[in-house]
């Protein structure tokens, strides 16, 4: 079970409160986590990565265990703590309110 945290505006879009728990089949990577997330919540498609190229959107970043993993390969394995559900896969998005 992977625990995912989304920023407020994406939680609204997905109609969820708090953390999301998803099952990922096979290797736990950015790509597999995001694909599982988008399969469960189709409204999130295109918000975190491009529909076609699956490239991360430049106004979104991914963190695991406090580290920015946005620039790592989407197929790199995520830290074990995230894969085992002890830590969250954290999505951070640009906000501009002041």
């Amino acid at each position: 079970m992977i625990r995912v945290e989304l920023p407020a505006h994406l939680r609204t879009l997905a109609r969820v409160d708090g953390q999301i728990e998803i099952e990922v089949v096979g290797a736990v990577t950015q790509r597999s986590v995001l694909s599982a997330l988008e399969a469960r919540y189709p409204t999130l498609r295109g918000t975190m990565r491009d529909h076609v190229t699956e490239k991360r959107r430049p106004f979104v970043r991914f963190f695991a265990c406090g580290e920015d993993i946005s620039l790592k390969s989407p197929d790199s394995p995520l830290p074990e703590a995230v894969a085992k559900g002890r830590e969250t896969f954290l999505v951070v998005g640009a906000i501009a309110g002041g």
Binding site: L90, A94, A96, G98
Partner: protein, 392 residues
Amino acid sequence: MSSVSLTNEEILRYSRHLIMPEVALAGQEKLKAARVLCVGAGGLGSPIALYLAAAGIGTIGIVDFDVVDSTNLQRQIIHTTADVGRSKVESAAEKISAINPHIEVRHFNVALSSENALEIFSDFDIVADGTDNFATRYLVNDACVLSRIPYVYASVFRFEGQASVFAAGDGPCYRCLYPEPPPPGTVPSCAEGGVLGVLPGLLGVIQATEVIKLVLGAGDSLVGRLLLVDALSMRFRELKLARNPDCPVCGENPTVRHLIDYEEFCGVRGEERHNDAIGGTSATGSGALPEIQPEELKALLDRGEDIVVLDVREPHEREISRLGGPAIPLGDLAERVHELDSSRDIVAYCKVGVRSAKAVEFLRSIGFRRVRNLAGGIDAWAKRVDPSMPRY
């Protein structure tokens, strides 16, 4: 050793600072010699300016072109009910001087722009960003990088906030974190999505703290760290940030060497400006959409025309005000689109026209041809057609 000195009156005023070895007399003199620019006198700018004034920052600049509105008062604590309608910089300058008459306030009653930013920034040592839109945030970042001035950043939305210090030393800049802004309308503004009133207070105080630490040269600043604040769970988390060697502004081979057109960079129009959009089309990520003005819709409805007025807001917003017609929140539209008849004229509305523009774009993409967006949303309707309707 700074060139300023404190009067006896100032020594008494700042005594709680002076007895701390981390500040002491030398530190307080540094604070007095410092020149800090607050961009925006709003939710973040209010606590930043008030606390920096109280702390004895010698020169405080404030840039804002706006006037105080009653919807500001829920969080912009530098302004009072009596200030509604006044220029924000005048209102803020008055409060700053009332708190601390020993400091100099410079106010700039202008919109910060690519034409004036570098000149305004040239008289300051640190910039604290309290703006409310992406275009100005990228402008502030780029101007800080080009001017080699630290950029003390925070932003808020609903119950969540982010803070960091950019463009300082070897640390990253805002573009290292977010190289490009979201397309207009995809991330709601506080006007669309709301913000807990005390949240900019929390984040603005963090910004003021970082400014003071930078001036004193004390402690560990937020350079290279992104602080995430969730007021609802009251969790503070920090994430490590690294400078991007390929950053177009602060990277090894920068391509942005002067200020650009930030409105264009962030989309046709900033999302906040969408609020005041008038004319026949809405700006969205994929081009122009048909629009209808509130007065025109009123006339059509009065004539008994067959128009479906579709509310795409959330149920709690509908409790405040409504125009009649069906309600399908934007997030449910794809699932419930079968409830709509594409052969009828449809006018979609939300609060200010951003979400309904997305609804119109979606409906058109699946074949609806007789669908338009209510320009300015129910807010424009309340202002221009039915002043008895509550605004929010």
